[in-house]
C-alpha cells in the first residue's frame, strides 16, 4: 500500500509536469495546427532560466525571500522569460513559414528545436547541471500516515491551480471563446470580428510560459537538468495531447496526468526499463479503439 501511494503521488507529480507542457502544446496545436517540436525545448530553457536565477545570485534570492519565495520568483522569472521566447519564436520561425503549409512548418519547428537545444548547450554546457540542495524545499511530513514531501504537495497545488485557471479562461471567458473559435475556423473567426493576431500572441505567450513554470518545478523535483531533456518532455506532451484528443484542453490535462500515472505505476510494479514501451503501446491501442483520442470528438468529414 505504501509503494502504491508513493508511486501514485510520484505519478501525479510527473503527470502534472506533462499536463502543463501538454496544455501549452495543445493550445498552440489547436489554434495553429502546428506540431511545435520546440515546445519541449522551451520547457528545458525554463528550467535553465530558473536555475540561473537561483545560483547566479549565489542564492541571494533564497536567502532574502526564503525557500518558497525563491521558488516563486524563479517560476515567475521562467514564466515571463519563456512567454517572451514563445512570442519571439512565433515571429521568427513560424510566421514567415505559414504560407508554405504544415509540412514546412514541421521542419521549421524541428530546426527551432535543434537550435534551442544547441543554444542551451552552448551557454550552459553539455554536462547536466543540478539545482543546489540549498534552494530546494525538502520538508517531509506524513499525510494520513503516508510520507510525502512538502515540495510534492506544492507542485501539485500549483499545477492544479494553473490547469483550472487555463480551463476557466478557455472554456468560460469571452476571450476563451475567441480562442476556441479561432481554433475551429480562422477565417470565420476573423469575419466575426475576432483579432486573430491577439489570439495567436496570447497562446504563444501563455502556452510556452506554462512550460517554463513546469521546467522550474521539474528542476526542483529531480534536481538534475540537461540541455536535451526537452525532447523527452516534448514527445511526452505530444503523446498526452493526442491521447486526450487534439486541441482539447481538458483532454490535454487528463492525457498528461494519465501518462504520468501509467508510467510510474508500471515502473513501480512491472519494470522501469519497459515503461515507455508500455506507454506508447497503450497510446496505439487507445488510438485504434478511439481514432481521435479519449476526449476527441468524432468528426465525420463532410463530403
Amino acid at each position: 500500500m505504501a509503494t502504491f501511494f508513493e508511486q501514485l503521488i510520484n505519478g501525479l507529480t510527473i503527470g502534472s509536469f506533462y499536463a502543463l507542457v501538454a496544455l501549452g502544446y495543445s493550445m498552440v496545436f489547436g489554434v495553429m495546427k502546428l506540431i511545435n517540436f520546440a515546445h519541449g525545448d522551451l520547457f528545458a530553457l525554463g528550467s535553465y532560466l530558473g536555475y540561473t536565477l537561483l545560483i547566479a545570485s549565489s542564492s541571494w534570492v533564497t536567502v532574502h525571500f526564503g525557500l518558497w519565495g525563491g521558488m516563486a520568483i524563479a517560476m515567475l522569472f521562467a514564466f515571463s522569460g519563456i512567454g517572451l521566447a514563445g512570442v519571439l519564436m512565433e515571429r521568427v520561425a513560424y510566421r514567415p513559414v505559414y504560407p508554405a503549409g504544415r509540412l514546412s512548418l514541421v521542419v521549421s519547428a524541428l530546426g527551432m528545436s535543434i537550435f534551442l537545444q544547441n543554444g542551451i548547450m552552448a551557454i550552459w554546457g553539455a554536462r547536466p547541471q543540478a539545482y543546489p540542495a540549498a534552494v530546494v524545499p525538502s520538508t517531509r511530513f506524513s499525510l494520513l500516515g503516508l510520507p510525502v514531501t512538502s515540495l510534492q504537495v506544492v507542485i501539485l497545488l500549483i499545477s492544479f491551480t494553473l490547469m483550472l485557471a487555463i480551463w476557466f479562461i478557455v472554456e468560460k471567458t469571452t476571450f476563451g471563446a475567441a480562442i476556441r473559435a479561432t481554433a475551429l475556423d480562422r477565417s470565420t473567426a476573423t469575419l466575426m470580428g475576432i483579432d486573430v493576431r491577439v489570439v495567436i500572441f496570447f497562446i504563444f505567450a501563455l502556452g510556452p510560459a506554462l512550460g517554463g513554470i513546469a521546467g522550474v518545478m521539474n528542476g526542483m523535483y529531480y534536481r538534475a537538468i540537461s540541455f536535451n531533456m526537452g525532447w523527452t518532455y516534448g514527445l511526452k506532451a505530444f503523446t498526452a495531447t493526442i491521447l486526450g484528443g487534439i486541441g482539447n484542453i481538458p483532454g490535454a490535462m487528463i492525457g498528461g496526468l494519465l501518462l504520468g500515472l501509467m508510467e510510474s505505476l508500471f515502473a513501480g510494479y512491472v519494470s522501469g526499463a519497459w515503461k515507455d514501451v508500455f506507454v506508447f503501446f497503450i497510446l496505439i491501442v487507445v488510438l485504434i479503439w478511439r481514432p481521435t483520442g479519449l476526449l476527441g470528438e468524432k468528426t465525420a468529414e463532410k463530403v
Binding site: 521549421s108 530546426g111 535543434i114 537545444q117 493526442i242 526499463a273 506508447f280 496505439i284
Partner: protein
Amino acid sequence: MGITDNILKRIGLGKPSGDQPVTFWSKNRGWLLLAITGAVFAAYPFLPFISDYWIDVAFFVGVYALLGLSLNIVLGEVGLFDLGHTAFYAIGAYVTAILNTTLHIPIIVLLPLSALIAAGFAYLVTSPVIHLKGDYLCIVTIGIGEIVRLTMINNPFNLTGGPNGINGIGGPNLFGLAINSSTQFYFYTWIIIGVIVFGLIRLQHSRIGRAWNYIREDATAAEASGVDVRSYKLLAFVLGAAIAGMAGNIYASKQMSISPGSFTFIESSLLFCIVLLGGLGSIPGSILGAVVVVVFPEVFRQFASYRLLFFGLALMLMMIFRPGGMWPRKREGTGLDGLGIRGLPRNDEDLILLGKPDPAILKPATTAVVRGVRLPPVTVPMDEEMLLQTHGVTLKFGGLTAVNNFDLNVRTGKITSLIGPNGAGKTTLFNMITGIYKPTSGQIDFLGRDITGLKPHTIISYGIARTFQNIRLFPSLTCIENIMSGPHCHARSGTWAAVMHTVAEVREERDIVATAAYRLDEVGLWSYRNELAKNLPYGKQRYLEIARALATAPHLLILDEPSSGLNDKESEDLMVLLQSLVKEGFTLLLIEHDMQVVMGISDWVAVMDMGQKIAEGLPKDVYNNQRVIEAYLGKEDD
C-alpha cells in the same frame, strides 16, 4: 529547377522546345545526362583532393539518400506523416547484425532478407493504424520508432546486446570479392542506389505512383475515383520499409557494430528534413537533401559544438526562403512526355482518337464480367429497366435520422433528378449509394447486385461514378493526370510490372492516357491538359470533375449539384453536355437546385424532405404537387 534548366540549355542539353532544330544532343538528352552523372560518380573517389575521409562522407550520403528515398515514398508521394521511419532502418540493421553474428549468414544474403523482414514488420505494425488521420498517424509512427529503439536497449532474450549493441558484424562479399575499403563501399552503395532510383522513377510514372499522389492530394476523392486507399498506403509503407531495411544492412556491414544510439527520434526527424529540403515527392530532391544533411555538419566541423546550432538555423531559413524544397518535382510544362508513358503517338491530337470508347462497354452487363472486372454473380432479381434501386434505405447519426426508409429507382438510360430543400438528406443518400457511408438499414441494388456497404473503390469498379458538391480535384496535379485516375480501377498492373515496363503494363498505361485524353476533349478542356487543376477557373473545374467521373466508364453517373456556381450561359452548356451523355449511353442521377435545369432535362424527379420521399413523378407533375410547394415555400396559414 530553373537554374538547372538554364545551365543545361547553355551547354546544349536543354529540353527541345518547338522552334529549335532537333540535334543529336537534344535527341539523346536523357542518356547523355545519365552518362555524365555516372561519370561524375565514378570519378569522385579518384579525384586528387578526395581523401578516404571524404569517400566515407559520400558513403554516408548514400545511406541517408537511401533512407530519404524510402521515406519519400511514404511522406512525399502519399503524404503520410511518418516520424518514426528509423524503426525500419533499425530493424534492417539489427536483423543483419543478429543473423550474421549468431548464424553467420553472409551479409549479401541478408541484404534482401533484411529488406523483407523490415517490410513484413512494417505491414504488421501499420495495418491496424493505417486508417488514422494526419497527426494521429504521426504520433503512432513516433511511438513505433521509440518502441523499437527501447526494445533494442532492453536486450530481450539477450539478442540485441542492450545499450552497447552488437559488435563484429562482417562485410559484404560479392562472389569472392570482399568489400571492405572506403572506395569499395562507396561503389557498392551507390550502385544499389542507382538500381533503386531506376525502380522508383518507373513507379513514380505508373498507375501506382499516380495513385499515391491522388491520395496525397485528396484521399476521399481518390477513394471515390476508384483507388483502394488503404492498400496503396500500406504498399507505400512496405516498400519504404524494405528500402530502409536495406540501408540498415549496408550501414551495419560498413560500421561492423551497431547500437541503439544510432536509431533515435532525432534520426527520424533528420530523414523528415531530408525529404522536405529536397522537395516532396522528388527523387533527385531526396538525394540532394541527404547531401545537405550529411555534408553540412562536416563542412562546419571546425565550429565544433556550434555546427548544429547553425544547422537548426539553416533548416528554418530554408523553409522561409525555399518552402517547396531545393529540387521540387515539376509537373506542369513538361507536356505529355512528363507522364513517362511509352509508345504515345508523336502528335498529341492522335491520342484523342485512340481513346474513343468502345460502345459495348456502356451497355449494362448481365454477365459476371464487366470490362475485365469480375463482378459477383447476380443475386437479386434483375429488372433490365432499373439500373439502380434503393430499398428502404435509412441512415441514423446518433439520434438524428438523416435518411428515412428511402426508395429510389433509377431507370436505365434516363436522367433522374433528386430535389429537395437544403438539409433534406440528398447528399447523404448519394454518399450511401457510393459507399462513403454505410446505411443503418435497407438495401441498395445495382445491376442485380447487392452493393450495400461495399467500399467506394469497389462500387466505382462496378460502374457508379460521382462528382462532389464542393468540387474535389487533385489540385497540384495536371488536368490529364486528374482524369487518369478514372481508368485506374480497371487496370491491373502491379508494382513489378510497373518497374519492368511489361508489355501489358505499357499497353494499359497507353489506354489510360488515351481514355483520359478522349474525356478531356469531350468536355472541352483538351487545351488545358498540362495545366494544374487548381489553376483552372471554377466552371472548368466542374467540367474536369465530370470528365474524371466519365473516365471510369460508368454505367451510372451521379452528379451532386453540377450547376451550382455556374452562370446562366454555363448552365445551358452543361444541360447540352448532360443530354449528349445520355445519348452516348450513360444513365444520370442528379441532385439539382436549378429548376430550369431539373425541369428541362429530367425524365423522372424524386423529391426529398427531412430524409423522406414526399413525391415522385414526371417533372411537370412534381412541379405542381402541393406537398412539394409546401416543402419549398412553407405551408400557407389557414
